[in-house]
């Protein structure tokens, strides 16, 4: 990727927009609710997995 060569920042993860949309829906659906709280690490991992985002890049404990 050209931006990576120009910036010197390694390419991270590239993934389909369908996964991005699923991730955003699961992550933000309750953000305006009084009951919202930050997800736990396990809950975050479950959200990533349900969005099809798996592997070491998506591990918060990596």
């Amino acid at each position: 990727m050209r931006w990576s060569e120009k910036s010197g920042i390694p390419v991270g993860e590239v993934f389909p927009l369908e996964s991005l949309w699923r991730l955003a829906q699961m992550w933000f659906h309750d953000r305006l609710a009084p009951s919202w709280r930050r997800v736990t690490m396990d809950e975050a991992h479950a959200v990533f997995e349900q969005a099809g985002l798996t592997g070491p890049f998506w591990r918060l404990d990596g």
Partner: protein, 155 residues
């Protein structure tokens, strides 16, 4: 009101202000809640410690209240007659996702640019579906999840 309930009220006042198109100050939130500014300042600090918001260092100006950005960014989101700025593409699509989750009108137009070729890139959320103007567009995250909060502004 106990501290946790007060912080929730402050957080919701912050989010409501952003939804209305305004980045809220301590004074504005205090006025909305009829609360003491010092108490709201303390709530801002606790919310920042709990990563519900991100403050500009050394101030109580809101840099981020995900999915909203406190100032202009390269991720612009239009919902009806409201215009928002998001922190990244995840947050940009997160704005309509959040509004839909709250049962609000969520059809949105997102304008950004391709990080690779700098070409304008538009996305639309229409009736719960995300589409792009560029058929083969993909999403990219540069920073691994474990390091997101090491520098959340860069992330």
């Amino acid at each position: 009101m106990d501290t946790m309930s007060f912080d929730t009220a402050v957080r919701l006042a912050i989010m409501d202000s952003f939804v209305g198109g305004t980045t809220p100050s301590v004074r504005a939130v205090a006025s909305t809640l009829g609360a003491d500014s010092g108490a709201v300042e303390a709530a801002f600090d606790r919310l920042a410690t709990g990563r519900a918001i991100v403050l500009v260092p050394g101030t109580r100006d809101i840099r981020m209240a995900a999915p909203f950005a406190g100032g202009p960014t390269d991720f612009r989101v239009q919902v009806g007659d409201r215009s928002y700025h998001a922190n990244c593409i995840w947050d940009a699509v997160g704005i309509p996702a959040m509004l839909a989750g709250a049962g609000r009108s969520a059809d949105a137009r997102i304008e950004t640019q391709c990080a690779d070729c700098s070409a304008p890139l538009g996305l639309s959320v229409d009736a719960g579906r995300l589409t792009t103007d560029v058929p083969d567009a993909v999403a990219h995250f540069a920073v691994p999840a474990a390091r997101w909060w090491a520098d959340i502004v860069f992330t």
